[in-house]
């Protein structure tokens, strides 16, 4: 199967091309089924590749397939090449696996949309780009995918482009990501300068051999991290992700929760040897940014009333955990959490989509409540997702979050404490959400008049194409933790699998206090999760305690609005100033010269319009005459 590696991205690309050419002909639902089948096909091939790699001895789990030479100039030799190794195949498996589930879900969710086939066109292109990103053998192929997913994200966020807010959100996502892309480019240039290649193997090898070290390694790591901050929505570049919820909900699940936003974590893991040889403060900075983002976003999530906004800030927060892991040298834990998060966050988003679908496009949780009675499958699966993200054992999120916090403790107890506070908040706001949506009294009856346009308003369960993926993801969210259980070395399946990729960068925490007392930390994690849930039940369920939801949290600490104000105010004014200078000063000088010439000499006056015309004609005729003469001479000679 290894030789069929190219087929993995080729299938969704084929889906894209077919829908591009025949999308209207296929229509609903065939276009959706085709797109789903393509991604599922990729998953099957990826599974084959996975088993092939698994059968190889550990040091041979590395296969490069080069399609063609992409940009060969000078010393730059970049191939369009794919790399199959434990990291990329792990990514491919969950991208295509979850991707096909979400595709299937979308065939139900997008039912009746006039642009049904176009939606799947973009979706397949997205999966193709995402696969290029994770399968790239070098930074440039990854960058192709990196920008590709960004572009698809732009298409899909502004999918309902007649809505002004959707159009603006799409643009904001693209431009903010471009700020990060600048960092990726700088990282690439530095790496190329230092290692003479863009291939991961070459760059990582150079780091391991000491060819890249110190200031260069630090610069490369931080520049790539800027890119990661853009793509993975970390401080200070996270602002686009909450707005990205303007896109259809399957998009939020696929792109803005499960796959694309984890690209930054993937990239960091890919170049872990470079981060390892960078100055110590570089990974520390990454850890601090991660944990700060995690806490910051969690505080905002506490006060959101839009069902998707809660999940969006929660995603930002969980991605922060992954960067905390990266900064702590816990690459396995980062990937572990990335995968479990993909399970439960995709589940939660799709669940919220099911709710929105059932509620006739109502997203305000204050107008929901008691939906468990009418949407039992959605409610049950959502509850599984909630327990997984809240960190309740034995659900998947518990194990991966705990592993991150273990490494964080080994790096610095402060990181651990902040992480724990975030975990507490996470349990709290997710419980709040579950209660507001599925429990309590039904608040949507009150709104039935306002929904007069929809006729008699009654939430309903979603069709099978939508709830089946929910069930599968719920199952994965329950058992996903089995990939990597802390009890015995033999249960560290993921660690053993990823070992060849991360062995250089992975921190060794054996012998630290945290490692020796990991069961104490497990206990603390359980207590914290349950306290968060209990507090939320008291506040939102039993209403025993008034909720503390200051406006400043609902407004996201005013961070986003401050940036908007700056862009609309001084930012715009300075741009205007440049345009004014260009028109009045630079061009003014040119016209000024013209005016001076015109007013000083009377003979120059004739050089104005009419005379220029004559002059031009003169030049033209003269040149033609010369040429004709020349040819006559040439022919004669």
């Amino acid at each position: 199967m290894l030789d069929l590696l190219w087929l993995i991205p080729a299938l969704p690309l084929a889906g894209f091309v077919i829908i591009l050419l025949f999308g209207r002909l296929l229509g609903e639902p065939k276009a959706g089924y085709l797109a789903t089948a393509m991604v599922a096909g990729s998953f099957v091939v990826a599974a084959g590749v996975f088993f092939d790699l698994l059968n190889n001895p550990e040091e041979e789990r590395h296969h490069v397939q080069s399609l063609f030479s992409w940009m060969p100039v000078g010393s730059l030799k970049v191939d369009l090449a794919f790399l199959a190794d434990p990291l990329s195949i792990t990514m491919v498996l969950f991208v295509t696996g979850i991707g096909s589930l979400i595709h299937l879900y979308a065939t139900g969710y997008m039912h009746g949309d006039p642009k049904f086939s176009k939606f799947f066109l973009y979706l397949n292109l997205f999966v193709f780009s995402m696969l290029m990103l994770v399968m790239g053998e070098n930074l440039l192929v990854t960058f192709l995918g990196w920008e590709g997913v960004g572009t698809c994200s732009y298409f899909l966020i502004s999918f309902w482009h007649t809505r002004e807010s959707a159009a603006t959100a799409g643009k904001k996502a693209f431009v903010t990501n471009r700020v990060g892309d600048w960092g990726v480019m700088m990282g690439m240039f530095l790496a190329f300068g230092a290692a003479g290649t863009l291939s991961y193997e070459g760059i990582n090898h150079a780091a391991e051999e000491g060819i890249i070290s110190g200031v260069t390694a630090t610069a490369i790591a931080l520049m790539l991290f800027i890119g990661a901050c853009g793509k993975s929505a970390q401080l200070p570049l996270y602002i686009w992700l909450p707005d990205a919820m303007e896109g259809p909900t399957p998009v939020s699940a696929l792109i803005h929760a499960a796959t694309m936003v984890t690209a930054g974590v993937f990239l960091m893991t890919r170049v872990n040897p470079v981060i390892e040889v960078a100055y110590d403060w570089a990974p520390t900075l990454i850890a601090i940014v991660g944990v700060a983002t995690a806490l910051f976003a969690a505080t905002i999530a506490v006060a959101q009333n839009d069902i998707k906004k809660v999940l969006a800030y929660s995603t930002v927060s969980q991605l922060g955990f992954m960067f905390l892991a990266v900064g702590s040298g816990a690459y396995v834990a980062a990937i572990f959490h990335m995968v479990t998060h993909a399970f439960f966050k995709a589940l939660l988003f799709l669940g919220s989509g099911s709710v929105i679908h059932g509620m006739h496009h109502e997203q305000d949780m204050r107008k929901m409540g008691a939906l468990r009675l009418l949407m039992p499958i959605t409610a049950l699966t959502f509850i599984v997702g909630w327990l997984a993200i809240a960190g309740v054992p034995p659900f998947a999120g518990f194990w991966s979050k705990d592993e991150i916090l273990l490494y964080a403790f080994a790096k610095s107890p402060i990181l651990y404490v902040v992480g724990m506070i975030t975990a507490l908040l996470t349990a709290y706001y997710m419980t709040r959400q579950v209660i507001m949506v599925f429990f309590g009294e039904a608040r949507w009856h009150d709104q039935s008049d306002e929904h007069g346009a929809h006729g008699d308003f009654k939430p309903h369960e979603s069709p099978a194409t939508m709830w089946m993926p929910l069930v599968v993801l719920a199952g994965l969210s329950i058992v996903g933790g089995a990939m990597q259980l802390p009890f015995s070395k033999d249960l560290h399946f993921l660690e053993k699998w990823l070992h060849p990729v991360v062995e250089f960068g992975e921190a060794d925490i054996k012998g630290t206090w945290a490692y020796d007392n990991k069961y104490v930390l497990l206990g603390i994690a359980i207590v914290v999760a349950l306290s968060g849930i209990a507090a939320s039940v008291l506040v939102h369920g039993k209403k025993k305690v008034a909720a503390i939801e200051p406006q400043v949290l609902a407004d996201g600490w005013h961070y986003d609005s401050a940036i908007s104000r700056f862009m609309g105010g001084p930012g715009r004014k300075s741009f205007d100033a440049v345009a004014w200078t260009d028109r009045v000063v630079v061009d003014g000088a040119v016209n000024g010269v013209g005016r001076v010439v015109r007013t000083t000499g009377s003979f120059v006056r004739r050089a104005q319009t009419g005379a220029v015309r004559n002059y031009a004609a003169g030049v033209g005729l003269g040149v033609v005459a010369l040429l004709v003469w020349f040819f006559l001479r040439g022919v004669v000679l």
């Binding site: 732009y154 482009h161 007649t162 159009a167």
Partner: protein, 521 residues
């Protein structure tokens, strides 16, 4: 430096001469054709431009990709006593510009409607093509100057005759501005030849002979270089000499804008390489920081100015200032990757900006306005048109997988080793490019169309047929640029070898890639 020595086997068909002559003859035939049979005039124009395009493609096939010197050379003496000759040649630097010129003109003739006086319009267009072809192919300073000047004339009349409201102002400004630059160049050419006579023992205007045989003192070379460079800097246009461009672009008819952006601006960047760096390497290296700085200012300045434009066509014009800045940055970085990327970018910019001007022209044809504020929601009423615009726009933004990325990326990564801080600043231009284009796209295509825009017509078959080659090139060159780079690189390499030989500039060679077969030879 035998690579540059013009010694070519007898070519059975003088294709380069034909590339200049066929459009010239077409222009004459069109001009003298009957006013009452417009369809014949149009046919003549079309045939001559298609034949030229065919020959340029044939040239592409004939071109030897392993050869860095001038190929298919056509050399005849003209005025022996002054050493002026008909000397044409093509190398990897000019090859794709010639092909682009050849392909662009028939598309423009088919795709743009002058609305009145078609006969002179077509004649001017063909004369323009002959001039541009001649400029890219000339290896004689006087011959080059003649073609370089001849280009101004049809362009002046195209803007002045078929342009929009302020066409006369724009045409005059264009003409006078570039004339001032050219005047300096003429002085430079004559002086160069006279000074080179001392080294060569005879008077000649032959580019190759002067470059190979002359040995200017540093200060002399610098003066001469600047005489050339200013003319080219105006043409590029390099900040702060760029303000004629927005006016000319905006007021020109669509065909004029497409040609102007597509190939005319490249006369400047091409000239800087061919007559700047090649002829005066010492001066080019000596002044590189000035050019790098102006290039980077142009990238940022053009992008910011583009963001604030209210006229869609003006916005695209300012984006050209930014894009051309990348090319100049690459030129003066003096590495193989950067200059090759710059040459690639010349072609890519021609394709994508040319297509953008076509699309803006189509919008104007439908709505009779280019004001962004008067357009709205076009994607809803014309999704295919919007999709075409989107692809071209993404190419202009520099999204990988499309052609715009390849040139920009190569320029930046190649310049990073010799012009690091300029790259750090210049690369922020890619952020701004996304900003101004996406913002404009949102205002024009997104949203709910109002009454005036709700009857916007979808892309027509003919328009689609004209746009298709552009989009095909955008995708092809982005996915598989290797054939282009293979042909560009040998010439860039020999240019750089010359720079290294004549100056103490050392082109950095990556010493890590041990398996590279072409070390320093």
């Amino acid at each position: 430096m035998s690579l540059f020595a013009a010694s070519s086997p007898a070519v059975p068909f003088p294709v380069l001469t034909a590339l200049v002559l066929v459009p010239l003859i077409g222009a004459v035939l069109t001009a003298i054709g009957s006013r009452h049979r417009p369809e014949i005039t149009k046919l003549v124009a079309l045939v001559s431009s298609v034949v030229t395009a065919g020959m340029s493609l044939w040239l592409l096939a004939e071109f030897d990709s392993h050869e860095g010197g001038f190929q298919l050379v056509s050399k005849h003496s003209w005025i022996d006593s002054w050493g002026i000759g008909w000397h044409l040649g093509v190398d990897g630097i000019s090859l794709f510009l010639v092909v682009l010129t050849g392909v662009l003109f028939p598309l423009v003739i088919v795709g743009c409607d002058p609305h009145h006086d078609e006969k002179p319009y077509l004649a001017w267009l063909l004369l323009l093509e002959a001039g541009v072809m001649g400029s890219f192919l000339s290896l004689d300073l006087v011959l080059f100057f003649l073609f370089f000047e001849i280009v101004l004339v049809p362009m002046y009349f195209l803007i002045g005759g078929w342009g929009y409201d302020q066409r006369v102002y724009a045409a005059t400004k264009f003409f006078l501005y570039t004339m001032v630059g050219s005047a300096l160049m003429l002085v430079g050419i004559v002086t160069t030849a006279l000074l080179a006579r001392d080294d060569l023992g005879r008077l000649t205007f032959d580019l190759v002979e002067i470059a190979e045989g002359s040995n200017f003192a540093a200060s002399t070379g610098r003066w001469l270089f600047f005489a050339f460079a200013i003319a080219f800097a105006v043409k590029v246009p390099l900040f702060p000499l760029h303000t004629w461009l927005p006016d000319a672009h905006t007021q020109a008819p669509t065909a004029g804008s497409v040609i102007l952006a597509g190939v005319l601006l490249k006369l400047g960047t091409y000239g800087l390489l061919r007559f700047g760096v090649y002829l005066f390497p010492e001066a080019a290296v000596w002044s590189r920081e000035v050019f790098l700085t102006l290039a980077v200012i142009g990238i940022i300045w053009g992008a910011i100015a583009a963001t604030m434009q209210s006229d869609l066509k003006r916005l695209v014009a300012y984006s050209s200032v930014a894009h051309l800045g990348f090319i100049v940055l690459g030129t003066f970085a003096f590495t193989s990757e950067a200059i090759s990327g710059g040459v690639m970018q010349m072609v890519n910019h021609g394709v994508s900006t040319g297509a953008l001007f076509l699309l803006v022209g189509m919008i104007y044809e439908r709505r009779h306005t280019r004001q962004i504020s008067e357009l709205k929601g076009l994607q809803k009423v014309a999704p295919i048109f919007a999709a075409a615009f989107m692809v071209v726009m993404l190419s202009s933004i520099g999204v990988p997988g499309l052609n715009g990325f390849v040139g920009e990326f190569l320029v930046l990564i190649g310049s990073f080793s010799t012009a690091r801080w300029w790259v750090v600043i210049g690369a922020t231009g890619v952020i701004l490019a996304a900003l101004y284009l996406l913002w404009a796209y949102q205002r024009v295509f997104h949203g709910e169309p109002d009454e005036a825009n709700s009857s916007f017509r979808e892309l027509r078959l003919r328009e689609g047929a004209v746009l298709f080659p552009f989009i095909a090139l955008i995708v092809f060159c982005g996915v598989y640029p290797k054939p282009m780079l293979d042909r560009i690189e040998p010439s860039v390499k020999s240019l750089l070898e010359r720079v290294e030989e004549k100056t103490d500039f050392v082109v950095p060679v990556s010493d890590h890639s041990g398996h590279g077969e072409e070390g320093e030879g």
